[in-house]
Symmetry: C2
Subunit: 123 residues, 2 copies
DNA sequence: TTACTGTACTATATCATATAATACAGTAAA
DNA sequence: TTTACTGTATTATATGATATAGTACAGTAA
């Protein structure tokens, strides 16, 4: 497979699969119109339960990134640029709760951006 | 109490209590040397199980923010400025996983800081 | 027909979170 | 010393998210 799963990751398995697919599109390994590996195939190559792959695929489908074709497989609907946007929006959604809280408490935007800069420097 | 609990919050109850204490210190409602409301008192006024308060207090203690005094209560150890630092570090810790991932995928620091700016504009 | 696809359902297990009740130990004031 | 507060410890139960397991059904195409 074009990506791997880490059982020790803080992210759940289905989240890691969702990430893996999105990043594969970003890298160009998967393109709009491609058929994803079948549920059973991906599950077996990642050594994960088929139901976990189903959960990831259905989540991606509800995001509009792929679509199920009965008897055929899952079709990739989005390209690199659209995935880039989605990933940024995803990031915004994930951190907005924390960020808004910081704003309410009285932190200013520069202090928070400094945190981002520091992370970028280190890793 | 100086803060409230929302059962519909995405944050767990004990997280909300930890937040509430930290923010109370930031606002000056709680000062270094103050004694926190007792476990039973806080639990009853927030309508929460005492064990949930215990979990929050013990977490704050392990962060070095308060300390338990058998038979007396929990003593506040840190002041505003120290809490400010801790909260920023906490934020960095929470988002670093996501941010590092974005960096690895090829996003640049300006794109990510733009996300922060957008959040600040909206709310 | 065969061998693949996705879909649906039930059952089980683990973990974090939260609740509930009880008992024990330290502190301080009446 | 007694009383009424503190924190601490332990056990039990419930829920929801996550993950696993197995089985059965439906669509597609060679």
């Amino acid at each position: 497979m074009w990506f791997k799963i880490d059982i020790r990751s803080p992210l759940s398995l289905n989240e890691q699969i969702k990430m893996g697919i999105k990043e594969s599109i970003l890298k160009g390994v998967l393109k709009e119109g491609d058929i994803l590996p079948s549920i059973r195939e991906l599950a077996s190559s990642l050594k994960v339960n088929p139901n976990t792959v189903v959960r990831a695929y259905k989540a991606l489908e509800s995001e509009g990134i792929i679509i199920a074709k009965q008897g055929i497989g899952y079709l990739v609907l989005k390209g690199k640029s659209e995935i880039r946007e989605l990933i940024l929006k995803d990031f915004a959604r994930k951190i907005s709760g924390e960020a808004i809280r910081l704003k309410k408490i009285g932190f200013n935007v520069d202090e928070v951006m400094e945190v981002i800069k520091e992370i970028w420097k280190k890793k």
